[in-house]
């Protein structure tokens, strides 16, 4: 019984990081109605950034966290102007293909540089023991960082001028334009934020598990499941959805082989989409 509880708690911790990743995806969708199919590739880049920080720069692993946020933000702005700017407002098909093309380029380059071999960055953090069950330090740290970053995002969106401008653009782009907000800059920044969130979640995941260039695909599907659970365009829902998914994974892991879990997720994903088109935690947008 306690074994399951420990698994569930661990799942919740990891789930917070899933939620962070999904927040990146859902932010971009909410602000500019684009579903970023390069999301998985960016998570992978975040993972490799950790590797570079630790092994090429020789720095402490958690230095990679703010590094990824900054680089992710800037990279996201570049990606916006390269691949997203021109397809906004066009049929959804176009933005799907465009972001997917970005994904192809990024993964292709990644494979050329790092091949598809597994990489691992062991991170040393003190664990917490409780009644004979150990909770790994990295999991706890990752969860705390995810929540802190989410909190910072909240502060940014709701208590700064830039954040308010971004929300205004998300709400009604024409009206925002009329009030003098430079909407294109705001869109690029929102995209940058989304990419930063995805990237840093990759960095955090890399502190927990080994990874390859192709890992992004699984986590991208993961993020989609979470956004479906939490409702598209709803960052708070994304965090809750992430925790919920982590919880489900925690419940499932003791009972089924690891390779089955993506199939269960996929099934859950399709089921949720058909049964709850607005998301389970949806604070419904009429």
């Amino acid at each position: 019984m306690f074994g399951i509880l420990a698994s569930v708690i661990d799942g919740i911790l990891v789930g917070a990081v899933y939620g962070l990743a999904a927040m990146g995806l859902t932010l971009i969708w909410g602000v500019m109605n684009v579903i970023n199919l390069a999301h998985g590739a960016i998570i992978v880049l975040g993972m490799f950034l950790l590797y570079l920080v630790v092994y090429s720069l020789g720095l402490h692993p958690y230095v990679a966290v703010p590094t990824t946020i900054v680089f992710g933000f800037l990279f996201g702005i570049v990606l916006y102007w390269v691949g997203v700017h021109r397809v906004i407002g066009r049929p959804e098909l176009m933005s799907l293909l465009s972001t997917f093309a970005l994904n192809m380029v990024l993964i292709g380059l990644g494979t050329a540089i790092w091949s598809t071999s597994p990489y691992n960055v062991p991170v040393d953090m003190p664990s917490v023991s409780w009644r004979g069950y150990t909770f790994t330090g990295t999991h706890i740290t990752a969860a705390i960082m995810a929540v802190v970053i989410a909190g910072l995002l909240y502060l940014l969106l709701y208590h700064t001028r830039v954040g308010k401008a971004v929300r205004a653009v998300a709400n009604n782009r024409e009206a925002a334009e009329l009030t003098g907000i430079p909407t294109r800059q705001m869109l690029s920044m929102a995209f940058g934020l989304g990419v930063a969130l995805a990237g840093v979640s990759g960095t955090l995941i890399a502190t927990l598990f080994p990874f390859t260039v192709l890992s992004g695909e699984t986590y991208q599907l993961n993020s989609f499941v979470v956004t479906v659970l939490g409702g598209l365009g709803n960052p708070a829902g994304a965090l809750m959805g992430g925790v919920a998914l982590g919880l489900i994974e925690g419940l499932a892991t003791p009972f089924m082989p690891v390779s089955w879990i993506p199939i269960v997720e996929f099934g859950l994903f399709v089921f949720c989409l058909i049964a709850f088109p607005r998301g389970i935690f949806a604070f419904s947008k009429a």
Binding site: I35, L37, V82, G83, R86, V87, R90, P91, E92, L93, M94, L96, L97, S98, F100, A101, L102, N103, M104, V105, I107, G108, L109, T111, A112, Q220, L221, F224, V228, I263, F266, F269, V270, L273, I274
Partner: protein, 320 residues
């Protein structure tokens, strides 16, 4: 439709295409033309989903691979005639696609697109674990299988001709649908699905039908192609890379047009051939394809044919 010139042009071109390597007895040419023909089949049927209905089927290769497996299984395990086996594969795959389509086509844009990838990966996993179909090693054909067709050499020619027939059929079907009520409904869905529904288009039914229709010819082609190859195994049968390249070819040539996919397939093959002589890393193939897709989507979403139509508006009439 046979009263218009265009279908006859397709038939004529197909005849030339089929007979040219035959009369020059050039096996190398036949092989590259066969590959191009396969790509045209994939891209052209993909056009029904992407170009008409506006739904991106990233995992379209699953029809091809599954059709291939069913055909080879019927030929090796049940000693069926290859043509019947390939047709059976086509029927089976499109029937399953119809049922499945009713479910996953309820998903909006990106989710549908991802779900199609998921379907492909899931089917691949199932096949890898399915012993009667050879599991991870796949199914091999012995030379005897080519007996009924007059031996391996002759069989290859027969397969080539049949595949060209399928290519012509794909283009003709594309044309017939575009000029039908069904096609008009699909295109309306592709333009604005909600508006189409309010206008009375039975969107759910039409989407499932086109998904199923877009599965048939690729599945039959898969049966013939893998029979010709003599072997089918999960990695190449369900290769996501090929699936994506079909999309790039479609967009390159001109999504929504009839012969756009044909142009796109040729252009892409030329490009790839050129690249392979200068770059030997296959990862860059994905990068180049991705960059190409990015450029097309942003600057020339109508592809080659779209560009031609804008330069010479009168070409819209005869160059569909």
């Amino acid at each position: 439709m046979w009263r218009r010139p265009f279908p006859w042009l397709i038939v004529g071109a197909a005849l030339l295409y089929a007979l040219f390597p035959y009369f020059t007895d050039d096996v190398g040419l036949r092989e590259s033309l066969l590959l191009a023909a396969i790509y045209i089949i994939l891209a052209s049927n993909l056009n029904l989903m992407i170009g008409y209905a506006g739904y991106v089927n990233f995992g379209n290769i699953v029809f091809f691979g599954l059709g291939g497996y069913i055909c080879l299984y019927l030929v090796t395990g049940w000693h069926w005639n290859v043509i019947l086996a390939a047709l059976a594969g086509g029927v089976a795959v499109s029937a399953v696609a119809l049922l499945f389509g009713l479910g996953i086509l309820r998903l909006r844009g990106a989710f549908f697109a991802l779900a199609t990838i998921g379907v492909n990966q899931a089917v691949q996993q199932l096949v890898v674990n399915f012993e009667p179909w050879g599991g991870a090693t796949g199914i091999y054909l012995s030379l005897d299988s080519y007996g009924p067709l007059g031996g391996p050499m002759q069989a290859l020619w027969v397969m080539y001709l049949l595949i060209v027939v399928l290519t012509a059929a794909s283009l003709l079907a594309s044309y017939a649908i575009k000029n039908s009520k069904f096609g008009l409904g699909l295109i309306a869905i592709g333009q604005n699905e909600d508006a189409a529904a309010i206008l009375g288009v039975p969107t759910a039914r039409y989407k499932a039908l086109v998904y199923s229709a877009s599965a048939f010819l690729p599945a039959v082609a898969g049966g013939l192609y893998f029979f010709k190859s003599g072997i089918i195994e999960p990695t190449s049968a369900f290769s996501l890379q090929t699936s994506i390249e079909a999309i790039v070819m479609l967009m390159l040539g001109g999504s929504g047009t009839i012969i756009g996919p044909a142009f796109g397939a040729f252009l892409y093959e030329e490009l790839r051939g050129f690249l392979l002589t200068t770059e030997y890393l296959s990862h860059f193939q994905l990068v180049i394809a991705g960059a190409l897709l990015l450029v097309i989507v942003q600057f020339a979403p109508g592809g080659l044919l779209g560009w031609l139509h804008r330069q010479w508006p009168r070409s819209r009439r005869w160059l569909e």
